[in-house]
């Protein structure tokens, strides 16, 4: 006869899922922190403090040769951002992600971003978190539905730790991965994000990702300037999405035997770019911070915007592992900062400093490229801890999103999946057959 206390030990399904949510949050947070530290260590180890031009040319090429082999032979699912793959896993494969995917993503992501590829760490973190969550679910032999439910939980936890923005991470999961803002998983994603951010802050400290001064709308006429930034942001988003898809199509159209060498081709091109513009290497948040604090001049920001756009397209399209989340923020900061400086010179009324425009620009490009407008608003709020800039941000976001949607109806993550032969409905919520 079983003792009564043993009976009580038996966890109910809801309790188990809550416990798992917290554990997945912690694991995903740790994975995201490790990923960040790994990128930093690789970058430091490869480039040192003052890399010579030769080093900047050869390191991305050489490392991409290695990652090319790894990606072609062992971790084919680890290419690119990781967000589209996570969406596909959630919607089409009941959340099943093979354990080699997060492992491969970690390894190739650290090498690609650390070696200077112009890519972000947030997208890969999403796949890492989702992959870990899926692995835990599979290991515990949870039901397919529960495994599927753990995927956005892990994704939001990892994103929360990677970007230090727990609310935006939850919204990103709902908006982008699940595709349903009313999803019943809201509670679980919040719990996991909070657990993850606590872990992240206890390890890395409570230092914000960007140091943003207090910005506000100085004059109502500025809304026109922000609207102009929204339009410019929409056009740049469009150029990025179209360019990325076209370049990827080009690489995909190459003979099959080149697949292993395509990352190295991208690496060589990035190496050449880094010789002249080392500022576009890797995540590049240092320069975003400078732009937010008015530390860059107009020409520099305009040039970096163009070069970063090209470099990210090359890095991503050539099949390297890394995301477009950070590059979209980088592009936005440079574009916004440049627009802000122009406005400062021509506006007949007092205006905010260019840093405010850089901040709005970040949200604008994020809304235009990633197509997650709500996430972008909350992300900027979490970065600044200030509501003052939200109205201009919403104006710019709306315009950017409208332009991007008008000329590129399919969101970029879905378009990337379509290039891989996977079709999702527009919201991503409804499953569509794998083609």
């Amino acid at each position: 006869m079983r003792a009564p206390w043993r009976q009580e030990w038996r966890l109910r399904e809801g309790q188990l899922f809550l416990a798992l949510t917290i554990i997945v949050g912690i694991l995903a947070g740790l994975a995201a922190v490790l990923f960040t530290l790994g990128i930093d260590a690789v970058r430091q180890g490869l480039f040192g403090l003052t890399p010579s031009p030769w080093r900047r040319l050869l390191i991305p090429t050489g490392i991409s040769l290695v990652t090319g082999v790894l990606l072609a032979k062992f971790f084919n699912d680890a290419r690119g951002s990781g967000v589209p793959q996570t969406k596909a896993a959630y919607h089409l494969h009941q959340g099943i992600i093979p354990p080699r995917v997060p492992l491969g993503k970690f390894l190739t992501g650290v090498l690609c971003i650390g070696s200077g590829h112009s890519m972000g760490r947030e997208g890969p973190s999403v796949q890492l978190g989702a992959g870990l969550a899926s692995w835990v679910g599979q290991w515990l032999r949870l039901s397919p539905k529960q495994i599927q439910n753990l995927v956005p939980v892990g994704a939001s936890a990892a994103l929360a730790a990677a970007f230090n923005t727990p609310i935006a991470a939850v919204l990103f999961s709902l908006e982008e991965i699940i595709g349903d803002m009313n999803a019943s998983l809201l509670g679980s994603t919040v719990v996991a994000s909070v657990a993850s951010v606590i872990v992240e802050r206890s390890i890395l400290g409570n230092e914000p990702l960007f140091h943003v001064p207090e910005y506000r709308l100085v004059h109502p006429g500025e809304l026109l300037a922000y609207a102009a930034l929204g339009i410019a942001g929409g056009l740049v988003s469009l150029a990025f999405c179209k360019g990325l898809l076209a370049a990827r199509r080009l690489f995909k159209g190459m003979p099959a035997w080149t697949k292993m060498w395509q990352p190295a081709m991208g690496g060589l091109a990035i190496g050449v770019i880094l010789v002249f513009f080392p500022q576009v290497a890797g995540v590049g948040y240092q320069y975003v911070d400078q732009s937010l604090n008015g530390g860059l001049i107009l020409t520099t920001m305009a040039v970096l915007c163009v070069v970063k756009l090209g470099a990210t397209i090359i890095s991503y399209a050539s099949g390297n592992a890394g995301g477009i989340f950070a590059p979209s923020l980088y592009l936005g900061a440079m574009l916004g900062g440049a627009v802000g400086l122009v406005v400062q010179h021509i506006a007949p009324f007092p205006v905010a400093s260019p840093g405010a425009y850089a901040l709005v620009g970040m949200g604008t490009l994020f809304a235009g490229i990633i197509r997650a407008p709500l996430t972008s608003v909350f992300m900027i709020f979490e970065i600044t801890q200030d509501y003052q800039i939200l109205v201009p941000l919403m104006v710019a976001n709306m315009l950017s999103l409208a332009i991007s949607k008008r000329f590129q109806p399919e969101p970029v993550y879905q378009a990337l999946l379509r290039q891989d032969g996977i079709v999702l409905s527009e919201s991503g919520a409804d499953q569509a057959p794998v083609s």
């Binding site: 043993r6 798992l20 912690i26 430091q44 390890i203 001064p213 911070d289 400078q290 400093s353």
Partner: protein, 387 residues
Amino acid sequence: MSEVDSPRKDRLPFRSLPLAQREVALLMILCVISAVMFAGTRRLATWSRDRRVQDATHWFLRGEQLARAGNLEAGTAAFREAVAADRQNPRYVLALARSLADSGRNDEARQLLLQLRQAQPDDVEVNYRLARLAALSHDQAGAVRYYNYAMYGLARVGADRDRGEIRAELITYLLDQGERQEAINELSALDRELADNLQAQLQAAHLADKAGEARMALAHYTKAGRLDPKSAEAAVGAGEAAFALRDFALAARELGRGIALGAPASRFQSHLEIARLIVANDPLSSRVASSERTRRLLAALARVTGRYAACVQATGADPKAPDATRVELDRVRRQARAEFQDPDVLARAVESIGAAEVTLRSRCPTSTEPIDRAWELIASMPHGGGA
């Protein structure tokens, strides 16, 4: 835990355990994995942080080296790297802000300093730098506020800077802005907190000079002279301040001493000569016998009359035309010597000679000599030259 498909059951971890215990065991294992991973990640983060701190130190030292060599652009870039590597160190942020300000990138420097100030509102250096930036951008209220914060911070947290040094800068700024009264108020405060050394006293004296506060300047120069009796700067400063206060005896003494100590004679000779002439010729001077007063007055009268005649001749004017100066000089000349024993008569006569000197200076400026200027000053004094 949910029900598991039976074909898979044999592959379950801890399959020999009852379901209830297995759930807890698996969760325990995950907790242990998390704890181990946490400890490992934390260790890695510490190592990474230590390495970044080392990098930051490297960049900071390099930035300082470059800044010292005058390469502001490269220095700023190095300080940026230092800040990026170790944002927690306010020293690096401050160095970057200073470098940016030196390169004229005031807005960015201000942003950084304001961020620093949020964390350390009483930091003297941060407030001091913000004050300088506000001054540069003509934000007078901001500049005064931050200078005051800096001085307040000195009292609270202390710093390498001297309070007098900051207040002196504030006074200079106020004077440059034409806020003389505010500057004088600050000068009074400076007087109370000034360090007892030559440089500080000289600086305060110069500021008082600039503010037109000759008495305060004289006090500081005198104190400076006491601290270093061989200071030519203190001596001539005191002489000039005394001259402005019309204490010509003191002016003559201090200017003479200052020149003897090595002050440039060309710069101070003129005032020295005038001061000496006033001391030697002032009929209203104290401790002068009445016969000497009369002698001085008559000598001056003779000299100014002669000068008047020369001026009339030089300008080709009609010597017989009615002229108030001539009338007045004639009136003084007609007075009997005995009448000059009366102090009021003597004072009026001095005034008349002084007025004639002023008139002649405007009519025949080229003929003006130090003694003429001396007599103008003698006549303008409310009482004697203070011999």
